[in-house]
Amino acid sequence: MSVETPTASKPIEWRRYFRWNTDHKVIGIQYLVTTFFFFMVGGALAMLIRTELAQPGQDLLNGVEYNRFLTNHGSVMIFLWIIPVLAGLGNYLIPLMIGARDMAFPNLNALSFWLIPPAGVLMIASFFVGAAESGWTAYVPLSVTAPMGQTVWAVSVVLLGFSSIFGAINFVTTVLTMRAEGMGFWDLPLFVWGMLATALMVLLATPVLTAGLVLIAMDRLAGTLFFAVAAGGNPIFWQNVFWFYSHPAVYIMILPAMGVISEVFPVFSRKPIFGYKAIAISSMAISVLGLTVWAHHMFTSGMNPALRIPFMITSMIIAVPTGIKIFSWLATMWEGKLRFNTPMLFALGFISLFLIGGITGIFLASIPVDLHVHDTYFVVAHLHFVLFGGSVSAVYAALYYWFPKITGRQYDERLGATHFWLNFLGTNLSYLPLFVAGLLGMPRRVADYAPEFAIYNQLATLGAFLLGISTLPFLYNVIISWIKGPKAGDNPWEALTLEWQTSSPPPEHNFETAPVLSRWPYDFGEKVSPADASEASASAGD
């Protein structure tokens, strides 16, 4: 089974990570490392924000600086960390999972990656010309009159949009045309389903943001009047365009993450995934529904009041497919033989934390409640529970889970568990108090606040520092284990998806010979008696 490949014996092979390389595994690692660097940058900005907010009064940052750090914290975290890191996971895993030798368009794939570093450098360098300071939402007209850095920001986001679009084209084409012999749609790993649903949204929503950013850039550079109110320009139009992309974007940031969770649960429960088809279909349902809810960010904006109602209803309905996933994961654990390796810990953390974020999303979708909490720290808390507690937890789960596959070595479980607990506690400590602050009347995006909110902010700052510290065991673990961790073997988790059926790390073209699917990817478990099995879904492999 395990084929000897000359991986360890090439001393200069690290260079290929700094070059144009078309191997999807190299590109995947390029993505993961680059985006993690940007996570550190975004995290450092968050630390500055939290330090400023540790007590009332403006001490560390003045109003302008605060807005710049805030804007770039949000933009870096979303456009340079979560969206591309998930694309990076997809890059590394999809060809392996479907038994292909590479992506459909290797050069386009390399281009998708190589757009990211310049875009990231642009965004960070914009601090030298007066960084963007209008929030990651860049509401007009504020963003039209903002300094030069706002244009740089727009260019950077457009580049990252191209990166996403090219990546999505690659994912869809690869999954549709390059599956291994015998792999039907109902044999696809659920992570691949998640990426497919994500790619759909990227293709449909990202270009609209590009168009919108073009309009802002034209207003700033070419003297057009799209958002010049005196000439009839309409600020609400930008909000529609922005959220038409950015709401789907939040599902772009969660569906692959949920895919990861769907991979982890069956393997560490030693049971087939519960309700495979329902989970796959719910990903698609979320992606379709997700395109129809954008105006729930605009309930207070003075948009047409009657239109708010349908948007409220579609937003609420997304709870249904999401619930299907959560309940199916719980049922997967039921009667299993749970192993609490670090990926499983993060998957459990994902459910707990995302649940809080998701339910508060329902509060936000309810218009009357949103009229009170819109643009308050309640929203900030919601978004960090889903994005940090949800997406980032899942990314950590993925990094631990596939670490042996990517490096051929095993990480240290003890450090992994430490990382998990610090992260879990830190998340709750950081963001739970912020719900209260928001409800009590603290608006978001303020560098200063009334003294009555001090206690909640102190707790949050404490939690944030804990989160900062929590990355240290992770970094240490990854670096040390990569260099001299114990050899992991090809399939340490005894998983059934195709990526585990080749060597670790995989050889140049992934498989020595073209793989043929002979077993369903979640075919775990002791066979049950026919009576019980009659209710089981018919989709199980051969």
Binding site: L142, P368, D375
Partner: protein, 348 residues
Amino acid sequence: MRERTIFTLVVLSLVLVIIGYLVATQVDLSGLMPEQAATSSVLVDKLFNFLMGVAVVIFLLVEGALIYAVIRFRRRAGDETEGPAIHGNNTLEIVWTLVPAIIVIVISIYSYRVLTQIERPVDSPLVVRVIGQQFIWSFEYPESGVTSSSLHLPVDRPVQFQIEAKDVIHSFWVPEFRLKRDATPGQIDELTITPTQLGRYPIRCAELCGAGHAAMVGEVVVETHEQFDAWIAAGGRDAVEGGLADDDGDTSVAPDGRSVFVEFGCGACHLLSDGGGAGIVGPALDGISNIAASRVDGLGAEEYLYASITDPNSYVVEGFAEGVMPLIYTELMTPEQIDALVEYMLTQ
């Protein structure tokens, strides 16, 4: 065996529903919300309580199942077997699709009803124009022609706000009323509120509007009809005379310049240590008295400061843009207030 499971499930869901009901109706969640100062506050809080009830049930259900599974189904040492190969269960899956669907539909209907109640048109409201600009709120009462930088409302009378903005988007929000509406340049948006509690509440700008966004805080004073009428009759001035907490409306006291500086939010743009200003949109005013006289030839310090406030564009400090400092202070302040302000600056 099977019957016992069903029995347990029924009991569990009953317990959960009861807990949810208690949270939604009995538990006092007022600690999570500001004071209820308008009819809308009561309605929103009721809905919020209901949502909390639902949320607590779902939270307990999911976390409970999760913790139970983690304890009950953990692998014992040495056990190398796998779990049963169960792939799904149609009944279960239909249940957990339908039940959340029903819950969210109920939430939607309830929310819709609350919304229509909040936004129900009212007869002969008091109309107030709300104008947002960087970084100050101002209010106009078209019936009486009064303009003011603080908002006075008679208790128990519906008010219709007509909200607009002069430069960028702001958002008019009184947490105690539970309602907010964006002030968007180029359009007028309406918001109806009936205040029910006497008192003073902050007006917080909720939309990022620039460097002074955090400092864009105003004040709403809900008062009796008599107090309100008196305030209007005095041109909307006496109650704010001298700025801060001056309820008795004693007009004989000369306004205090520092209070004026604080009340009109100059600190959103200007750094002035004594007045608590930390803004950086405009020039720092620490030590302004020393340079004021040398700014413009032929203008003494006092004249220059007076001109800076009443006609900011007449002289634009180097390195700053024209037209940033609002032009409305002559409208909002009494001559005495401006004089007091100038006098105060001369001491800085």
